[in-house]
């Protein structure tokens, strides 16, 4: 390992700042909720491990170092999702006990992402400049997996739902933004390829539209945070594709802080039979749509495009 393997610039600096702030928030929240539980030391170690991976990835000067950081982050994210589990008493599977499906899904997506990166590395060595499109495509696939964008968009809501708030902060704000980091870092690769830029933009747009709709109909607070985060990341993809790098960075930071705020300050439960006021009857713009269209769209988003169920089907043990 040499110093030449590392690289430091504005992009690194902004990601470093966001990372620092979010990890502090996560640990602060974990201290409140997890302290005294046996998961607390586990949590600290996992977060430190994650930070190591995160640091390596954002400071990396080449694909090799990036891949190493990526691997570490992948393992740490997986560990964060399964953090709350008690492995000692889970000898007999009971019907109510959750299966391993959801963490397995996140793990699977990460491994796919690694394969994408590896292939990109190989391609950049062997295919040379003329096949930059292949490399860019592989990078894009990895980025959209990481950021929970299309077509791998279902892991984030499930992961957030199945993890502690402290872990959710790390996943929703840092892990997801790494896809954008990858795109920004590899910007020079695909800067001059219009088709790739179009593809990134279209993917971002579709994911944003999908996630925004799903967020509008969500009644679960954590899933809503996940979808809001996904929708913003979709917009960031469009900004990156259009070349507004600084705007994208500002958006990344804003999105991270917004996500953390929503997770840390959940809304209060309504007291039973408290004034059921009229504000819940508020009409939204969707109410102006024709009935048939309105119901169709609502059902469509409630079922979350059906993507969710489809990917789960293959990962059911």
């Amino acid at each position: 390992m040499f110093w030449s393997d590392f690289h430091f610039d504005g992009l690194t600096l902004s990601y470093l700042t966001i990372g620092l702030a979010m990890t502090m928030l996560a640990v602060w929240n974990g201290r409140k909720t997890l302290r005294g539980h046996k998961q607390w030391p586990r949590f600290i170690i996992t977060v430190l491990f994650f930070c190591a991976g995160y640091g390596l990835a954002i400071l990396s000067g080449g694909l090799k170092m990036l891949l190493l950081g990526w691997e570490i982050m992948g393992i740490a994210s997986f560990l964060l999702i399964i953090l709350h589990r008690d492995f000692k008493d889970s000898g007999v599977p009971t019907p109510g006990r959750p299966t391993f499906g959801i963490p397995a899904k996140a793990f699977f997506i990460y491994r796919l992402g690694d394969v994408g990166l590896l292939l990109a590395m190989w391609a950049s060595h062997h295919l040379g400049r003329e096949n930059a499109a292949v490399v860019s495509l592989l990078v894009l696939v990895t980025a959209s997996m990481q950021s929970s964008q299309l077509p791998f968009c279902s892991w984030l809501p499930q992961a957030l739902q199945n993890t502690t708030t402290a872990g959710a902060i790390v996943l929703a704000t840092l892990t997801v933004q790494m896809g954008v980091f990858l795109l920004l870092r590899s910007y020079p690769f695909w800067e001059h390829q219009l088709s790739i830029r179009m593809l990134i933009g279209v993917l971002g747009f579709v994911a944003a539209a999908m996630a925004a709709g799903a967020a509008r109909v969500q009644s679960s607070v954590k899933r809503r945070v996940a979808y809001v985060s996904m929708a913003h990341t979709g917009l960031i993809f469009i900004e990156v594709a259009a070349g507004f790098k600084s705007l994208a960075l500002i958006h990344v930071a804003a999105n991270a802080f917004l996500g953390a705020y929503r997770l840390l300050v959940p809304p209060a439960l309504v007291p039973a039979s408290a004034g059921k006021s009229a504000h819940l009857n508020k009409r939204t713009w969707e109410d102006r749509l024709p009935k048939k269209l309105k119901y169709t769209i609502y059902m469509f988003y409630t079922k979350e495009w059906g993507l969710y169920a489809r990917l789960s089907k293959y990962l059911r043990p």
């Binding site: 199945n162 009644s219 809503r224």
Partner: protein
């Protein structure tokens, strides 16, 4: 559809189901109901045993927790001995002391009876309908009941649940179902629960048990729906929902999933059952472990009461006897109540919260006034107390260990992250560090009169609320202690009789002085 004899009475089963389901109010507030209402015709400890064996409720602390109370001297050895002598007789005290303190019982309790019938889907058809029905059902229910998380609330407003879903289905290009049969059944007519169960289960004798299994697989959601129905609470958007509608919709989803998994033709569950499942409602015999737990519970409670009672029996109106010890206990709220002259409460040790209800026995020779007071005081205090009690034992929480994963749903409830069911009971912050203790009601009167009043109440009146007071007291869901106005003698109501209670104030205050 085959002709059925009418042994399945939909209304009766629904009524019973509502009684058994845990009451759950929006926002996890107090429901002012006994969480084990369905069992309150039984004696307290029998009820705990039945609830835990039948429904898998956790109705007491764990044995380790009780023993740690003993080791940390929060419960007193002499109280343990007293309870043992009382319950098992002096001859068997030693034998039982050993069991209570030392004996190792198998930690993993046998699976409860609930859910055994539906477990056959997995065994016989190797498919688990819940895994696919629950996420869909919870999402639709969550959206329907939402109190303000989602930006775009459920588009059909002001109607019942099934009507709303039918309206959605009829006017949408995308269906909530994946196969045509269930969708058609929803759209064409409102199928009765019996019709749907005939398709899924087949054998009418099993219908009731199947419904219990199904609803208790998500007792939180069902409990919330049942509570909303019984309170006639409309949702914020003037919609409403009944338990029957929930069950019909869930059965339709189940048919949908089974059609999808097993193809169009599949035999109902009953046709492949190897042996009929055990009866869910059969009486549960007492086991050694349940007896040990009951003993521990009594010991914890009487250790707590003892100090108060010792103070009371010493107390006489002309004697001002200030209490020396400075004990402050993590006293459970609503666990002590005195019905008597204010002077009775004067010697309550510090640190105990007592609800005092002023009452003069000398103006009420026949106990008519007492009857009225018991009727108002016991139900409200008792229900709150029992809610604290069973929330502390995590009564209906299968995944209590996973409290870290709580997620807010629709501003009305907190769901368990992995299974998606709502958590019943009070939030843990309210019950942390408390000992589960029943309400102790102290009445100042002559014990014959009190027994007559309580006995009179148990003869049975029409209304349920009135009867439940006598039921609670007679079945010891609430402890009743009578303090004699003249002799200051204490008597406890046990198994329908007034038993003398001895606490030695001299010995006790000495031991307290020594301890602290």
């Amino acid at each position: 559809m085959t002709a059925r004899n009418n042994s399945f009475d939909e209304l009766a089963v629904l009524h019973e189901l509502k009684r058994f389901l845990p009451a759950l109010s929006a926002g996890r507030a107090f429901t002012h109901r006994n969480p084990l209402e369905a069992f309150q015709h039984l004696h307290f400890h029998d009820a705990l045993r039945h609830a835990s064996e039948m429904l898998g409720y956790q109705t007491s602390l764990s044995l380790e927790e009780y023993r740690s109370f003993y080791n940390s001297k929060r419960v007193k050895p002499d109280v343990l001995e007293k309870v043992l002598v009382e319950k098992k007789g002096a001859a068997k005290t030693f034998e039982w002391q050993d069991k209570v303190l030392m004996k190792k019982f198998p930690t993993a309790a046998a699976a409860p009876r609930i859910g055994r019938l539906r477990a056959n889907w997995q065994k016989q058809y190797s498919t688990d309908p819940d895994a696919r029905v629950h996420p869909r059902l919870f999402r639709i229910l969550g959206n329907y009941l939402d109190h303000g998380v989602s930006d775009w609330s459920f588009p059909v407003r002001g109607q019942g649940f099934l009507d709303s879903m039918r309206e959605m289905e009829a006017n949408s290009f995308i269906s909530a179902f994946n196969t045509p049969r269930a969708r058609k059944m929803l759209l064409q007519n409102t199928p009765s629960i019996g019709d749907l169960l005939a398709i899924i289960v087949g054998d009418e004798a099993l219908f009731k048990q199947y419904l219990f299994d199904q609803q208790f697989a998500h007792r939180g959601w069902s409990g919330l729906v049942a509570t909303l129905e019984s309170n006639r609470n409309n949702l914020p958007n003037r919609s409403h929902i009944t338990l029957r509608e929930l069950i019909v919709f869930e059965l339709l989803l189940e048919i949908d999933v089974l059609d999808d998994r097993l193809g169009k033709q599949w035999e109902p569950l009953a046709s492949r059952l190897a042996s009929p499942p055990n009866d869910l409602f059969a009486p549960v015999p007492a086991s050694e472990k349940s007896e040990v737990l009951a003993i521990w519970q009594e010991v914890v409670e009487w250790s707590y009461y003892e100090e108060v009672l010792a103070g009371l029996s010493r107390n006489s109106p002309n004697q001002h006897n200030s209490y020396a010890s400075g004990t402050v206990r993590a006293s459970a709220p609503e666990s002590l109540c005195i019905i008597g002259r204010p002077s009775v409460a004067r010697n309550t040790p510090p640190g105990y919260r007592v609800a005092l209800h002023s009452y003069d026995f000398s103006l009420d020779r026949d106990g008519a006034e007492l009857e009225r007071m018991l009727e108002t005081v016991v139900p409200s205090l008792g229900a709150t107390n029992l809610e604290y009690f069973f929330s502390r034992t995590n009564f209906a929480d299968v995944n209590a260990g996973n409290a870290l994963l709580d997620q807010l749903i629709g501003l009305f409830g907190v769901a368990d992250g992995t299974r998606g069911d709502l958590r019943p009971g009070l939030p843990t912050e309210l019950t942390e560090g408390l000992e589960p203790i029943r309400l102790l009601c102290i009445v100042e009167h002559f014990h014959e009169t009190v027994l007559k009043v309580v006995g009179r109440r148990s003869v049975g009146r029409r209304s349920v609320g009135r009867r439940s007071v006598a039921q609670w007291i007679m079945n010891e869901w609430v402890h009743l202690v009578v303090i004699d106005p003249v002799s200051r003698e204490l008597r406890v109501l046990k198994n329908g009789e007034m038993v003398g209670y001895k606490s030695d104030p001299l010995k006790y205050s000495l031991s307290v002085a020594g301890d602290w």
